[in-house]
């Protein structure tokens, strides 16, 4: 369980963050975790609802880890996310940059991007299943859409927001448009892009689980719907916690990459 708090340390500082009175943040995080689990145990033992306690959930988690179901489901979900996310980002970067750089591309593409952004990717699922069947394709497609839409807007905003004095500084040094784009616009837009990728990954992860709830034969979302029909509440808890932990780890990894790639920024 300590996994949840560990990545919370700021990677840029070697000493743990401290609050004003000198208690390390990490310790506070641990205390919060212990208190939270204790409260959960208390609620479970009060028998107010049919909530399983931390003990029965962790023993179920151990069972699912031992028989390999949890790993298999997590991998199935992760595979879909990474495929959809990679495709979405790969397309979003050039499209977003194109929209930011050429007013023509912006005028042609922006209405579509803005329109589709208002439709939750999940709402596309019924259509995707009808058109693409119940295999991997509709799920990956929906995730692709979720990742693409968050990322394309970020890339576009990143290019539009590049400080014009930086572009002028490159122009007066004799840089042609190609060099300005590659050496000024892309690096300057990278922080925006990485924020977009984080949001995109978050929405991709949220979407995959929901997509699996609707139609799948494996995956974390599928396991939970399956458990629902058998009134297997501990398994549902294990699924939820796994989703949360994986989502958090992915977010922190991207945050780490973001800090490494954009450490040159002046943070206010």
């Amino acid at each position: 369980m300590a996994v949840i708090t560990a990545p919370d340390k700021t990677p840029t500082t070697s000493t743990p963050r401290r609050t004003r009175r000198g208690v390390p943040t990490l310790l506070l995080n641990l205390i919060a975790l212990v208190v939270g689990v204790a409260a959960w145990a208390l609620v479970a033992s009060a028998q107010l609802a049919d909530v399983p306690g931390p003990l029965s959930v962790s023993s179920r988690a151990l069972d699912l880890i031992e028989d390999g179901t949890l790993a298999q489901d997590a991998l199935a979900s992760l595979r879909r996310v990474f495929l959809g996310f990679a495709l979405g980002t790969l397309l979003a970067v050039p499209v977003g940059f194109l929209m930011g750089w050429y007013p023509l591309a912006r005028g042609l593409l922006e209405p579509y991007v803005q329109f589709f952004r208002t439709i939750p990717p999940l709402a596309i699922i019924p259509l995707a299943i009808v058109l693409m069947g119940i295999g991997e394709t509709p799920k990956v497609f929906v995730i692709f859409l979720a990742a693409f839409l968050s990322c394309v807007v970020a890339a576009f905003q990143g290019v539009v927001g590049v400080d014009s004095t930086l572009i002028n500084a490159a122009r007066v040094l004799g840089a042609p448009d190609r060099v300005i784009f590659l050496k000024v616009v892309i690096p300057a837009a990278t922080p925006f892009l990485l924020v977009g990728m984080r949001i995109g990954l978050g929405s991709a992860w949220a979407t995959v689980v929901a997509a699996e709830l609707i139609a799948a034969d494996k995956g974390l979302g599928y396991e939970m719907t399956h458990a629902q029909t058998y009134y297997d509440i501990p398994t549902i808890f294990v699924g939820l916690i796994t989703i949360g932990v994986i989502g958090l780890v992915m977010d922190r990894l991207l945050l780490l990459a973001e800090r490494r790639l954009t450490g040159w920024q002046e943070r206010r």
């Binding site: 007066v172 004799g174 990278t190 040159w264």
Partner: protein, 273 residues
Amino acid sequence: MSTELDSTDPVPGRADAKISFRDVVRTFPMKGGEFTALDRVSLDVGEREFVTVVGPSGCGKSTLLNLAAGLVEPTSGEVLVDGRRVAGPGPERGVIFQQYALFPWLTVRGNVEFGLKLTSLAADERRRRAEQAIDLVGLSDFADALPKTLSGGMKQRCAIARAYAVDPEVLLMDEPFGALDALTRVQLQDQLLDTWSRRKRTVVFITHDVDEAVYLARRVVVMAARPGRIHRIIDVDLPYPRTEELRLSPEFARIRNEVWHSVYHQTPAGSAA
């Protein structure tokens, strides 16, 4: 001491002029009409001359500089450098911006090498030239530092090194020390003059600081606003190198007063000519 500018002068600029503005008009569209940033401005800047431009805000001093840089085109009239009409920016005209405009993801060395990488220089020659320029502004100890770790004064020195590295014939400086504190500003003025004396270039330096204008220049161009135009050109008959002693001398004070007076007590547009 001062030359009243005849903006209708039909004679082409002086033969040795590095930069010539000939009847330059520049208007910008704005709500409900046009804004005349520059109205029939003519000015010659000599080879290796250091000229400063002062004037109230809105007098078009930055526009004047951007025209020479090729970042803005004249509405009418022409801007010549070496007798050739300016068409877009080019590495022979270095520009230094008030906001430093350093590439924050590149180190000091990376910034200085940016312009050099656009030339056909070999890598080792490029490195040597960058080293030289960094040394020229005294940033050798910070060659591998990112801009975010530098003070404002050091950032501007880095920007000056970046401009110097490509060895431009003309340096166009747009209020380069405007964002710095008074002490740093005085230091950078001396450093700039020192750099300039070692590698003489034609410099057009925009400022709103009368002291700075007089201290640096051989000629101070005083501009007037609405519409932006040249009000007076005041010669600074003080020898280089300029020193602190000179800055505190009565001659300096006299010229400073003259410039001050012509900046702050301008006669209205109609009666100037």
